[in-house]
Amino acid sequence: MSEQRKAVALISGGLDSLLAARVIQDQGIHVEGINFFTGFCVEGHTHAIRKRDQNKEKRNNALWVAEQLGIKLHIEDIVDEYKQVLTNPKHGYGANLNPCLDCKVFMVRKAHEWIERKGFDFIITGEVIGQRPMSQRKETMPIVADESGANDLLLRPLCAKNLPETLPEREGWVDRQQLFDFSGRSRKPQMALAASLGFEDYAQPAGGCCFLTDEQYAVKLKDLWQARGSRDYEMDDIMLLKVGRHLRPSQAYKVIIAREEGESNFLQGYRKGFPHIKTVSHGGPLALIDGEVTEQDVQLIGRLVARYSQGRNADEVVLAYTDLAGETRELRVDPMKPHEIPKDWLI
């Protein structure tokens, strides 16, 4: 018997990578999955934050896909290394701050390093020519293969027939004839293949595997970079961008105000790292201050936060302000009127 060949499949949690992996498994290849956590991945986090989302099914799609396939899944934390990809993408950004092509190259490169370390033979992805305007085009396919260093060890089972033969095909580890020639934006071929393989309950590819494709999120991230004068970020920054109302009354600071209880609870976890304000006399949200503030700023922020509390129509609202050193003192303010909050404060 010939040696069993081993492939690692990039598993995003969407349908395409699920199908690609199954098609190769069905050819007798041992497949394991790899999933990359950039810090911007949508699933996972958000459900923990917003109260209204807490009843939604808390499913990590990549884990779910691996379970459907009966394969092992390795989740790689690439948060730190990803900064380079995001802040300086050679191939630029897509519609928002999504550096999809650089991101693909990076992930395939990491997968290539992984197979070399683990003694696997090749890499598979669910890419389809023409599926995505930026990263999945006829021209980008060789770019990903070349720049990642994976070259002909990278096999895309769903569109392999439209691409030059790869090593696993040439060597006869997989039968090219049983691979596919999908192309274009239509999802129909994938859905038909899913049905024929008996998959029903897969995650719908709503275009959102990461926050970087989200317009609102991209605006907030750009604002952060601009205010700091550099494109750097920490894990806390990118988490906080997912939560609350962000208002910037000045270049020196912004205010993050929880929109509901779930967000207030989430922000609680960050209190130690930020000056913050909590309404005392009325029900109200927790607000964090990101940046440097003067005494005058604190008064203004107090009035702003009061506006979002249940005391918004009261003559006076009492709040507690805690500075970075942990010292708390009382603020008494008149809540801002709606017209006092310029529209462009809201990021």
């Binding site: 991945c41 996972g44 808390k58 691996a66 379970e67 989740i75 988490m239």
Partner: protein
């Protein structure tokens, strides 16, 4: 039996899973790994990851706002 505690407080999924996974890589079979988490998603994700990778889920419990998941490391 050896117990190995992992503090995953404040970490959001999938970070708790990644921490458990990376810890298990270096631990001998039979070790009990106890992850203390604050993201309720961990109650689903760590067991799912364990099932997939062949490790045994020993228990999950909720304790004063913290979610605790215990996994026994399997043989490679």
């Amino acid at each position: 039996m050896k117990r190995h505690q992992i503090d995953c407080r404040r970490l959001l999924c999938p970070m708790p899973v990644i921490k458990v996974q990376n810890a298990i890589e270096d631990l001998p079979a039979g070790t009990l790994v106890e992850a203390i988490c604050t993201d309720p998603g961990a109650l689903n994700d760590i067991p799912a990851w364990s099932r997939i990778n062949g490790h045994r889920l020993v228990e999950t419990r909720t304790d004063d706002g913290e979610y605790i998941v215990v996994v026994e490391v399997a043989d490679e």
